[in-house]
Symmetry: C2
Subunit: 490 residues, 2 copies
Amino acid sequence: MLRLNRLALTRKLLPSIQCTTKYSTVVAQEPQRPNLKTEVPGPNTKRLFEQLNSIQQAGSVQLFADYDKCTGNYFVDADGNEFLDVFTQISSLPLGYNHPELLNAFDDPHSLKTLINRPALGVFPSVDWPQRLRNVLISVAPHGMQSVFTMACGSCSNENAYKAAMFSYRVKERGGSVDFTDQEMTSVMKNQPPGTPDLSIMSFEGAFHGRTFAALTTTRSKPIHKLDCVAFDWPAAKFPRYKYPLDENTRENKNEDAKCLDSVREHIEAYKKKGRPVAGLIVEPIQSEGGDYEASPEFFRSLQKICKQHNIAFIVDEVQTGAGPTGKMWCHEYFDFPHAPDIVTFSKKMLTGGFYFSPEYKSPHAYRIFNTWMGDPGKLVLLDKVIKVIKQDKLLDLVCKTGAVLKSGLHELEKEFSTHIHSVRGRGTFLAYNSPTTELRDKIFTNMRKKGVMGGVCGNNAIRLRPALIFEPKHAEIYLDILRKVLKEL
Amino acid sequence: MLRLNRLALTRKLLPSIQCTTKYSTVVAQEPQRPNLKTEVPGPNTKRLFEQLNSIQQAGSVQLFADYDKCTGNYFVDADGNEFLDVFTQISSLPLGYNHPELLNAFDDPHSLKTLINRPALGVFPSVDWPQRLRNVLISVAPHGMQSVFTMACGSCSNENAYKAAMFSYRVKERGGSVDFTDQEMTSVMKNQPPGTPDLSIMSFEGAFHGRTFAALTTTRSKPIHKLDCVAFDWPAAKFPRYKYPLDENTRENKNEDAKCLDSVREHIEAYKKKGRPVAGLIVEPIQSEGGDYEASPEFFRSLQKICKQHNIAFIVDEVQTGAGPTGKMWCHEYFDFPHAPDIVTFSKKMLTGGFYFSPEYKSPHAYRIFNTWMGDPGKLVLLDKVIKVIKQDKLLDLVCKTGAVLKSGLHELEKEFSTHIHSVRGRGTFLAYNSPTTELRDKIFTNMRKKGVMGGVCGNNAIRLRPALIFEPKHAEIYLDILRKVLKEL
C-alpha cells in the first residue's frame, strides 16, 4: 500500500494528461486488468502450436492471438486470456491493438487503392508519392534530414544503409569522381577488386542490426542468431556497460566511455592497416536485443566526431528506439549532436522500413538503392494516421509521464527487492532492469505472464519494457503492482 | 493485315476462354486500346519527378501512376495517358490493377484486423495463422513440399534460404548432431570459425537473386547493381546461352548444357579444395533480369542430381517465375524433377516473400529463421483472393492461350523483321526476344512506349513481356500490332 501511495504522489506532481476522444475510445474498451481463464499456454494454444509446427519450425511462438478481440494495451490469446501487453509484438505496435484511426484508415477508396495496387516504387510511384513522403516521413524526419528511402523491413534498411555508406566512401576514394572504370565494371561481375572493394562496417559487441548476412555480421547479441552463418570479417568495438545507479558511478562510467571510444579508434586503425577500411559505423541509441545497454550523450557525440575525422558514415539504427518510445520521436535527439547523423535507419513502430540520409549519401547514379517494391505505400497510409494520433493525443508527452511513473516505481522495487532486480534504466517507457542470473530473470518473466503481463526479455539477464505509446500511468501501476507480487513471492 | 489474319486463325484453333463475371468486370472497364494525350513523359510527370528527386535519388523512375484510374491491364500515368501494361510493376501484379476481388478483400472486419494488427509472426501469430498458411500458401505449394516460411521480400527470402542451406549443411558436417560446442558459441560472436563457418552459395553468371549483400553476391546480372559493394568469394557457374530457334540447334544447345554442367562440377570441386565448400546452389528457372535465358528440363534435372551427390541444397528462385506467368503455378513444374527441390523461394506475384522447404531443411532449433515481422498476414488476405481468382477464372489456362498467341505472333515478326528482333523464347506469357544491339533494343522499347505500350527490358539486348495473368489474346493482338508498327518504322 505504501508503494501505491508513493506512486500516486509521483503522479500528482506531473501535469495532467490530455486525451482526445479517439484515444479515450481505445482505452475505454480495454479490460480493467489482466484476466486469465486457463493455464498459460492453454489448450487451444497447444493445439495451434502443433498445427503450425507441422508447417514450419514454430519453437519461437509464445502464444496465438485473437486479434479481433485485442484492444489497446490488452492482448487476448487463443484461450481467451487477457494480458496487459508491455512487449507489443517486439516493440512494433505504436498505437496498441485495433486503434479506431487505423481501423478507419482504408475507408476511403483512394487509400484502399493505394494498398492493393502495390507498385514498384522505384519505377512507377503514384502521383501522390512525393507528397506522401513529405507529409508522412519527412514531417517526422530527424532534425536536419530531408531525404529518405523506404524499405520493407529493418534488416533491409540496415543492409541498404551499408550500401549507401560504401557508395559514398568509394566516391571519396575516387576523389569525387562518379565514373566507374572498365576494370571496375568487369571485375565486379566476378566479385573481385577493384569493382568489388574490400571495406568494412563497424558495429559494437552486444549490437543487434538484423539477420540477413551483412546485417547479421554486424549483429553481436546472441550466438543462436549467428551460428553456422558465414560472415564478413568486420570489426566490433566495445559498447559501454555502465554501473547503476548512474549518479553514484559517474567517474567509473566516464572511464567506461573512454575505454570504448579507444576501442573504436583502435579498430579503425587496425582495419585500415588490414586493407579493409571502415566505411560505416552503425550504432543503436540503446542496445536493445543485446540487453538494453545505454550510453551517454557524450559518448555518442564523440563517436560522431571520430566518424567525421575518418570519413566514416555515422549510421544510427533507430529500428527499435524510433517513433516515440523513449519520449522523443528519435532517441538520438537526446544526444544533442552538432550535425545530423549521416544515416538513420528505422522500421517496427514506423510500420515501414527505411532510412533517412544526409545530402552526401544521395547516390549520383540511379538503381543503386533499389529493389522491386522499395517498401509499401499501404504502410504509409497507416503511418500517416499513427503520426497524426501521436501529435493530436500528445503521445510523446504521455510516454514521458508514464515512463516517469514506471521508472520511479521500478526504482522503489529495486531498493525493496535488491537481491532480485537491479540496474533500472532507460528513457520514456523504453525501460529495463536486470536480475542477478538468467534463471531468476526467466522466472520473473514467466511468473509475470502467469499473472497476465506479457513482457519481454533481452541480453542474458534483462527484462525490457516495450509498451505501446498509449500506455498510461494506470497501466504502469498495474504492471508495478503485479511485478511487486511476483518479486514478493520469489 | 495478313499477320492479323494469321493471328485470328491461331486463336480459332485454341479452345475458347471461359471467364467468370468478376474477371469480365475488370476487362469491361478497360480502355479499348492505349491512348496517349501528351508526350511521354508529360508535364505532370516531369514536375513530380523534380519533387521526388528532391527527397531521394529518383533516376530510376519512368512514370508516375494514377492508381485510382488504372484498370486491369491498363496503366494510367500522371498526365492521363493510358498504356497497355506488359511489365506490371516488374512482374509483381498477378491480377492487374484494381481487381474487384482485391478491392473487396478487406470488407469484412476480420480481414481488416488481420491487416492493421501486424504481429511478430514468429512469436504471436493469430489463431487462424496455421489454417491460413495451409489454405493459401500450402494449397499452391510445389509438388512434394508441405513447409513454408513467410518473409517480407525477395531478397530476404533468398538470404534466409541461404541460411537454411548452411544450417542443414553444418548439421550434416556434425554427423547429424544438433548441438553446438562451447568453442562454436564463443567464436561465432567474433565472426570466426568454427562458429562462423567458411561456406559458399553457388549461383550462375547472369543470375539475379536480390540486392542485400549475400543475395547481391549471388547476383551476376549487371555491374550497376554490384559496384562498390563488398561481396563474399562464392562461385558462379556458367548458365546456358542457347541458339534459336531451338529445334534447329539441338546438338549445339545440348553441348551448351554439358559445358555448363561441367562448370558447375568444376566449381564445386574447386571450392571444396579452397576450404569453402558449396552449401547451396541457387538457380532461376528462367534467368530474368539477366536477359531471359532459359535452360532445358534435362539441364535442371542434372543440376538437381549434382546437388544431391554433393549434399548441396538445391534452391530454385521462383521470385519472378512463380505464381503463374509461365502457365504453371511454378515454372520448375516443367522440369519433371524426380524429387521436389530442397527450397523454392518466392515473392512478387505471390504478394508476400517466403520460401518452401523440404523436411530436412526444418531447423531443429527455434529462432534460426526469424525476424520481427516474418512477412505480413495482410498480404495473405490478398494472396488468398488471388489464388481463388486464378482457380475460378482458370487463369493458368488463359496464360497458356494468350502466350501461344503472343509467341506465334512474335515468331512471325522475327521472320518478317529478322534484322531487328530474333531469339523469341519463353513459356506462357513469360516471353522475350532480342535485338542485335542495346541501342536498337532501347529504341524499340521507347517507341513502343510512345505508342502506349509499357514494356520491360532485361540483359543487354532483350525485351521481356511480363503481363498480368489476366492478359487476354485481344491484348496480345494489340501488343503485336503496335510492335509491328514500331518495327516497320525503324
